[in-house]
Amino acid sequence: MKQRRNKAIFITLFLIPACLCFLMFYAYPILQIVVTSFCKWDYTNLSSPQFYGVGELLTNYKYIFTEYPYFWEALKNSLCWALVGVVIQVPLTLVVAIVLSKGLRFSKFARNVYIVPSVISSAAMGLIFLQLYNARYGPIQQIIQKFSPDFTDSILLMEGINFWAIVFAYVFFCGTTTIMLLGQIHSIAPELYEAGKIDGAKGLKRELYITIPLVMPTIKTVATLAATSGFLLYNEVFFLTNGAAGTKSITYIIRELAITSSRTQYARANTIGVVQIVIGLLLVAVINFAFSEKKIKNRGGEKA
C-alpha cells in the first residue's frame, strides 16, 4: 500500500515540471487553435473571435479544403518531404553510424566533421544554398552546364526539379542523429558480437542480425525526427523559392495566412494548424508502428 502511494507521488513529482511547461506554454495555444478553427477571426475582429453559426461551423475547413489555392499543393509537398526524409536519412544515418563505430583511423575526424553542418542554422543554410543554386554563377549551375551546355534556366523555378533542389539542401546533413545512433551502437555489449561470430554472423549479416535489431529504438527516433523535420520544412522553402513554382509547405502557408497576409487570417491559419497537428501525430504513430521492436524482449520494465 505504502509502496504504491510512494510510487504515485514519485511519478507525479517527476511529471510536474514538464506538465507546467506544457500547460503554460502550449495548452492555451493548442486549445485556441482548435476552438478558433470554428470561428471567424481575422483583421476585422482580432480581439473577439466569433463562432460561426450552427450550420456554418465548418466554414474555415470548407474554405481551406475547397477554395484556398495552396492547401493541397502544400500538404502533398510536406508529406513527400517527410517520406523522402525517412527513406534517405534513416539508411544514411544507419550506414554512417555503423561505419564510424568500427573505430577505424580517421573515424573520429569524420564524426566531428559530419556534425559541422548541423551547427549552422537552417536559415543560414537556406541562404548558402540559394547562392550555390544561383542560375548565373552558382557552382551547381556550372556543373549542369558541363553536361548540357544549352541549359540556362534556373532549377529553383522549374516545377518538379525544384522539389529535389530543396531536398538536397538539407537531407544529407544528419550529423546529430548519426551521433545519437553511434552512441547506441557503442553501448552494445561485445559479448553479443562474440556470440554472433560463433554462429557465423559476419560482415553484413552481423549488422543485420545483431546491430540493427538492438538499435531499433534509436532508429525509430531517427525516423521520427526525419519525418517531422521534413513535414515541417520551412526555412529552405522560404529562402530558396519563397513558395514559387509549386514548392509551398504546410508550415509556409500557415505563416503566410497568419503573418504575411495583411488580412491577418488567424482562423484560417489555425484551421491548417489543426490539420498539421493531426497529420503530424498520425505520422509519429505510423512510424512508431512501422519501427516497433516486437522481437526485442529487453524493453523497459513497464510493470515496475
Partner: protein, 451 residues
C-alpha cells in the same frame, strides 16, 4: 568521484527546476486573473523604465523604430537615431520624456500587441503596411485634424492622399519609397537600343530589351526580372487604369482586361529575358549592373549610392509612358490610447520629422526621397558636391514629376497578393511556360485569397 559530481549536478538542476516551476506557476496565475494584474505589471514595467530614464514620475513616450544597425553595417541607422535623439534632447524639459528605442522586429511586436488589443506608444513602420487590424480596432490615432490645423499638408506630401483611409490619416512616413529604374547608358548606345526616356509603351520597352540582347556581348542581359517584374506590372496597371492601384484588390480588377494585359506583357518580356535573370531580391543584380552585365536595373531611387564602382554612365529613368511608382507606406504611427500630454508630444514629433530642416537632412544625409514637397531637391543637390546626392536628386525629380505617380500595389493589395503575383511572374520566366495558363492560375488564386 564522478558519480558524486553527477548526482550533485542533478540535485542542483532539480532544485533549479523546482524554482522555475514555482516562478512559472506564479505567472500562469497571472494569466488567469488578467485584467487587474496586467495593469499592475504594466505599471511595474513602466516604473522600472522611468527609473532607468532617471526622470522621477515623468510620463514616457516610447518610440519603436527599426534603425538598429551599427555604423559599420548601415551608416544611415545612426544618423536617423541622431535625428531622433536631437528631438528627445530638445524636449528633455517637457512634461513627457521621449525615448526612441531600436528594435529588431517592429512588425512582430506590433502584430502581437494588436492581437491583444493594444498598440505601442508610437512606432515607425519604415514603409511596411500598418496592420489593417490596428485600424479596424481603432488602436491608432487619426492625425488629420492636427495636420489640417497646423497647415502641414505640403510637409507630409503624398502621405496626405495615399495614406488617407476614409478621411482619416493614421500614418505619416517621413521618406518615400520611390521607384523608377537605372540603366547603363553606354550599353544602350553600343547596342543601338532606344533609351528608357523615349519609351511610350511597353512594346517600346520590349523592343529595346530585344535589341540589347541581340547587340550585346556574351553574358550581357537586358534587365533584372523577378522583383523588378512586379514593379513593371505595377507601373503598367497604373498606366492602364490609375484607380486600380488606389484601392483594395477586387474580383473586377483581377478579371479585368488591364490586369491580363499587364501580366501577359511583363511575363512575355521576362520569358525572353530568361529565368536565370529573375530573382525575388532585386539587390542580387547590383554587382551585375555595376559590372556592366545587366543593362537595366529595376531598383528604387535609393540605389543612387550604390554605383561607385560603375565605369559607365548610370542614368535614372521612369517606367514606359512616363509613370513612376512612389508611395509613403506606413511610417510614424501613434497609439490612440495615450494621455493628452503624450499625444501632444507624439504629434510634435511628426511635425518635427516632416519639417524642412529634418527633411533636408533626410535627403542630404540619409539619401532618401523626402515626403515634404516644399523642398527643392535640385537646388539642394546643386549646393552639394556629392555625386550620390546629385544622382538621387535627378532620379527623385524624374519620379516626382512623372505624368502619373502610382501607388505600390504592395501597400493597397496586401503582401500575400504581392507574393502570389511575383511567384507567377517568376514561374513564367522559365522557357516554354504557358503564360495564358499561368494567368488563369493566378486569377483563380487571387480570387480565393481575397475571399
Amino acid at each position: 568521484m564522478k558519480k558524486r559530481i553527477i548526482s550533485m549536478g542533478l540535485a542542483l538542476s532539480l532544485l533549479a527546476g523546482m524554482l522555475v516551476g514555482c516562478g512559472g506557476s506564479k505567472s500562469s496565475a497571472d494569466a488567469v486573473s488578467e485584467e487587474a494584474v496586467t495593469e499592475t505589471a504594466e505599471a511595474a514595467t513602466e516604473a522600472t523604465e522611468e527609473a532607468k530614464a532617471e526622470s522621477g514620475d515623468k510620463e514616457v513616450l516610447q518610440f519603436y523604430h527599426a534603425y538598429f544597425h551599427d555604423e559599420a553595417t548601415w551608416p544611415v541607422a545612426p544618423l536617423m537615431r541622431q535625428i531622433y535623439q536631437e528631438f528627445a534632447d530638445a524636449h528633455a524639459d517637457g512634461p513627457v520624456t521621449f525615448e526612441a528605442i531600436a528594435v529588431e522586429d517592429v512588425l512582430g511586436i506590433v502584430t502581437n500587441e494588436v492581437a491583444g488589443g493594444s498598440f505601442p506608444d508610437m512606432v515607425d513602420f519604415a514603409g511596411n503596411e500598418v496592420p489593417l487590424a490596428a485600424i479596424t480596432q481603432e488602436l491608432v490615432y487619426d492625425m488629420k485634424d492636427f495636420i489640417d490645423a497646423e497647415g502641414l499638408q505640403s510637409k507630409v506630401g503624398i502621405n496626405y492622399t495615399m495614406n488617407m483611409v476614409d478621411g482619416k490619416l493614421y500614418t505619416v512616413h517621413d521618406q518615400l519609397t520611390t521607384l523608377g529604374l537605372w540603366y547603363n547608358a553606354d550599353a544602350y548606345e553600343a547596342a543601338g537600343a532606344a533609351t528608357p526616356d523615349t519609351w511610350k509603351t511597353y512594346e517600346d520597352m520590349a523592343a529595346s530589351m530585344e535589341t540589347l540582347r541581340a547587340g550585346g556581348a556574351d553574358g550581357i542581359y537586358a534587365y533584372s526580372a523577378g522583383q523588378g517584374s512586379i514593379r513593371l506590372f505595377n507601373a503598367y496597371i497604373g498606366l492602364l487604369n490609375e484607380e486600380y492601384a488606389k484601392s483594395a484588390l477586387t474580383e473586377d480588377i483581377i478579371n479585368s482586361e488591364e490586369f491580363a494585359t499587364a501580366f501577359k506583357t511583363v511575363a512575355a518580356m521576362d520569358q525572353a529575358n530568361g529565368s536565370a535573370n529573375a530573382s525575388d531580391n532585386v539587390g542580387d543584380f547590383s554587382s551585375d549592373f555595376n559590372a556592366g552585365k545587366c543593362c537595366t536595373f529595376l531598383n528604387g531611387v535609393w540605389g543612387a549610392g550604390g554605383f561607385g564602382d560603375a565605369t559607365f554612365e548610370v542614368r535614372p529613368a521612369v517606367y514606359p509612358g512616363n509613370v513612376s511608382l512612389s508611395a509613403p507606406g506606413g511610417g510614424l504611427t501613434i497609439s490612440s490610447g495615450l494621455s493628452e500630454a503624450q499625444t501632444a508630444l507624439a504629434l510634435e514629433f511628426v511635425k518635427y520629422m516632416t519639417s524642412d530642416e529634418v527633411q533636408e537632412r533626410i535627403f542630404l544625409e540619409i539619401n532618401a526621397n523626402p515626403c515634404n514637397t516644399d523642398i527643392d531637391l535640385n537646388s539642394l543637390a546643386a549646393g552639394s558636391d556629392n555625386d550620390t546626392v546629385k544622382l538621387l536628386a535627378e532620379a527623385c525629380s524624374l519620379a516626382n514629376s512623372a505624368d502619373k505617380i502610382v501607388n505600390t500595389t504592395n501597400y493597397v493589395w496586401g503582401s500575400d497578393v504581392q507574393t502570389a503575383i511575383i511567384n507567377k511572374l517568376i514561374e513564367c520566366s522559365v522557357k516554354g511556360t504557358d503564360i495564358e495558363a499561368k494567368l488563369a492560375e493566378l486569377q483563380a488564386e487571387l480570387t480565393a485569397l481575397i475571399g
